[in-house]
């Protein structure tokens, strides 16, 4: 009983750490994005994982806003 529980917890923790590290450099969760598009816009094809990566990269440093803006 105890073991799968612990394994699940470790898996959640490591996902959290990985997601956290990716979000620190502006990369959100692709699975959550794809799931969101499937649920709310079933008629639209979501971006591929690579397209998503480039979209987020541009959004972080990109044009017309100050996101990706570093602190002192």
């Amino acid at each position: 009983m105890q073991q799968p529980n612990l394994r699940d917890r470790l898996r959640t923790l490591s996902k959290c750490v990985c997601d956290g590290a990716r979000l620190m450099v502006g990369q959100g969760d692709y699975a959550a994005y794809a799931e969101h598009i499937r649920r709310t816009h079933p008629d639209r094809a979501p971006m591929t994982e690579v397209e998503f990566f480039r979209n987020r990269e541009n959004a972080r440093f990109g044009v017309g806003n100050t996101s990706g803006f570093r602190c002192c």
Binding site: C16, C18, D19, G20, A21, R22, L23, M24, V25, G26, Q27, G28, D29, Y30, A32, Y33, A34, E35, H36, I37, T40, P46, E49, V50, F52, F53, R54, N55, R56, E57, N58, A59, R60, F61, G62, V63, G64, N65, T66, S67, G68, F69, R70, C71, C72
Partner: protein, 686 residues
């Protein structure tokens, strides 16, 4: 009664422990104390503040409602607006607010001893810094995650909005200049450091190509690849520095490095982001977090003793590192770490668009800033565990202590911090540098402190040079990332500002306006950088106070906005939460700005300094560092430009405070709620 004891009992113990630690730190006389007491005192203060003051703000001032939908839920698009796990978002927010500021300010402030700096860091963060971050996050979260500029325009009016945009641009310029100056000061005459920092450019480009064409999106593996190459570059740097051919080839003077950085800033900010900026961002972000964690573990395990006295005689303003007395200059020297206006831009940037529930805002906004403050405490500890003689040798300008170990040892000993030429030469040899004299700017001092702490845990003396250059690389890396991301941000601001007059200038995809705006931005910070590099007093002396004033000024602007919002919500009875820090910051920035312009002491006042040079020029004399009459007039012009800049900052604070007071009075007289929040909607019951 029983439950109240259960609820508050453990916190009373935390409070008692914190009070005991503070008492030990403050009552230290003669003997050195263990740095852990400072860490314990800080952590207890943070815990109590988070449990009680932040909760009071959340419950009474903001009335956070977990049932109310956040922008992330309302506008969920899987991209910019995504409800995010609060732990994950905390990491994102902290990585965005933590930079070079909290590392450098406390190091410079250490000239007054560790106690004044420590007390200001703790009081500042609890009552001002964390309040600002949390309040701005709240205000933005209730308004679809809009930016600080938009919020000021909406709640205070168009003119204050434009003033704030212009102010933000000036702050960016000064920030970039001072950051670049820190890098120049750390790399000048240091082939080892210069080689490792330069090698980050090809390493980042290699990573960029890898994640563009070979394995897109695999951030983990490309970062590990980059990290391994970086470590190899540090090791190789040692051989490069000792090589008779390559050593001199990578040895540059301050002005040479200054021109290189200006060129770099221009080119890097128009290159595609995937090639240089994004991959180096991975390295700098992960290295930053890793090093902060490493430093915390190092301090915990090594438990070093503080060598610097609790308070030095320099609280009277006669210190060699920077000029000016404790009030107001300590409070602007330690900006980030206590309160930083820049965070208002982050708290109204990506973070409010990612919050899943309103009740997470306290942890992310208030908690994130407490974490940053903890980084500042660690920087203070690192600066104070090294020999004070070495500290003052590294941070005093050459104009005061000369350039040889003998003159430096004599001058620093005369200041009251005994040292010998042997100690100075030996320290330089330990960290693999030719000299440590007048390495102002904070970064080299911090690197010596970190190398001291980490090498006590791993590697001993033999590894000290490695750790020193690791620390220099870590700082230079994220400063360079900030320089090119900041130049980009500046460029968009210039385009926005010019577009107020010439609308077509806003087109960010066409080359003409982009290059023109980039040139304006780089030229602006490059000017101040060059001025700083050639300053005989080390540049930090002039630029750091200007940076501190501008940063605290932005904080005052952000807190004014928050005060107005509190009045508009008809909760003015709690407005003291933001009025107290706003008033304090206005007092500090206005006094400091006034003294920087009008002080009769040429070390502090720009005009007095200009006067001294003008007087000498009139008599046909040449004062160092000028070598001819042209340079004399250049120095006079620099001083006057600095004075105008300080005057602009003063005007800006007064204008925004005026608009803020007017808006508060209007809201106070109104008989109803006038804040412009987005219509509340409740989370759908599951």
């Amino acid at each position: 009664m029983g439950t109240a004891l259960g609820r508050h009992g453990p916190w009373a113990l935390v409070g008692a422990l914190g009070a005991a630690a503070l008492a030990i730190v403050a009552s230290q006389r003669g003997e050195t104390i263990n740095a852990l007491w400072i860490v314990v005192a800080a952590v207890c203060v943070y815990l109590i503040a988070y449990r009680y003051y932040a909760k009071f703000i959340a419950d009474k001032v903001m009335r956070l409602d977990p049932k109310r939908v956040t922008p992330a839920v309302r506008h969920n698009d899987g991209l910019d607006y995504v409800p995010t796990n609060r732990g994950v978002l905390f990491g994102h927010h902290f990585a965005a607010i933590a930079g070079a500021g909290p590392l450098v300010g406390p190091v410079l402030a250490a000239q007054m001893g560790y106690l004044p700096g420590m007390l200001w860091i703790l009081a500042g963060v609890v009552l001002a810094g964390a309040v600002q971050d949390f309040m701005v996050l709240f205000v933005s979260m209730r308004r679809d995650g809009r930016s600080l500029g938009e919020l000021i325009r909406a709640e205070l009016g168009t003119i204050p909005g434009i003033i704030a945009l212009f102010g933000t641009f000036l702050i960016m310029v000064i920030l970039l200049a001072v950051l670049a100056l820190i890098v120049v000061k750390a790399l000048a005459e240091s082939p080892w450091g210069t080689f490792t920092v330069m090698s980050t450019i090809p390493i980042a480009m290699l990573m960029g190509v890898y994640s563009r064409y070979i394995r897109p999106g695999k951030i983990g593996e490309v970062s590990i690849l980059g990290f391994v190459l970086l470590m190899l570059a540090i090791v190789a740097g040692g051989s490069v520095a000792s090589s008779p051919v390559w050593g001199p080839a990578f040895t540059f003077t301050g002005p040479q490095l200054c021109w290189m950085l200006i060129g770099y800033g221009f080119v890097a900010s128009i290159l595609p982001v995937w090639l240089l900026l994004a991959p180096r961002d991975y390295l700098s972000t992960f290295l930053k977090i890793g090093t902060i964690v490493g430093l915390a573990l190092g301090i915990a395990f090594v438990a070093p003793h503080m060598q610097m006295p609790a308070m030095t005689k320099f609280v009277d303003g006669t210190g060699p590192v920077w000029a000016g007395s404790l009030f107001p200059f300590l409070f602007i020297t330690i900006a980030c770490g206590a309160v930083s206006g820049f965070h208002a831009l982050i708290s109204s940037g990506t973070t409010p668009k990612l919050i899943a529930s309103e009740s997470d805002a306290r942890f992310i906004g208030y908690g994130g800033m407490l974490m940053e403050s903890f980084v500042a405490i660690m920087a203070l500890v690192s600066a104070c565990v090294i020999d004070p003689g070495v500290y003052f040798t590294m941070n005093s300008p050459a104009a005061l202590i000369g350039t040889t170990p003998e003159t430096a040892a004599a001058a620093v000993s005369k200041l009251g911090f005994a040292t010998t030429p042997e100690i100075i030469t030996q320290t330089a040899a330990d960290v693999g540098e030719r000299t440590i004299i007048s390495r102002a700017g904070g970064a080299p001092t911090l690197a010596v402190g970190m190398a001291h702490i980490i090498s006590s845990a791993i590697g001993g003396k033999a590894m000290m040079a490695f750790w020193y250059h690791f620390a220099i690389l870590f700082e230079a890396l994220f400063i360079l990332t900030a320089v090119d991301a900041g130049t980009r941000a500046c460029r968009f601001m210039v385009q926005d500002l010019v577009a107020l007059a010439v609308p077509s200038f806003k087109n960010t995809t066409s080359w003409g306006p982009s290059i023109a705006a980039t040139a304006i931005s780089v030229g602006a910070w490059g000017y101040f950088l060059y001025q700083g590099v050639t300053d005989p007093l080390g540049g930090i002396n002039t630029l750091w106070p200007l940076f501190g004033i501008s940063n605290q000024m932005l904080a005052a602007v952000a807190l004014t906005l928050c005060t107005v919002v509190i009045f508009k919500m008809k909760r003015e009875r709690y407005a003291f939460v933001t009025i107290i820090p706003t008033a304090w910051l206005c007092l500090c920035t206005l006094t400091a700005g006034w003294q920087k312009i009008f002080s009769a002491d040429p070390k502090i006042g720009f005009l007095a300094h200009a006067e001294r040079y003008a007087g000498a020029a009139a008599e046909g004399k040449i004062l160092a560092p000028a070598k001819n009459a042209d340079q004399m007039s250049q120095i006079i012009l620099n001083d006057r430009i600095d004075a105008v800049l300080a005057a602009l900052f003063i005007g800006l604070v007064i204008a925004i405070a005026g608009f803020g007071i007017a808006a508060c009075l209007k809201a106070w007289r109104a008989d109803r709620w006038t804040a412009l929040e987005t219509e509340p909607r409740l989370v759908a019951a599951e």
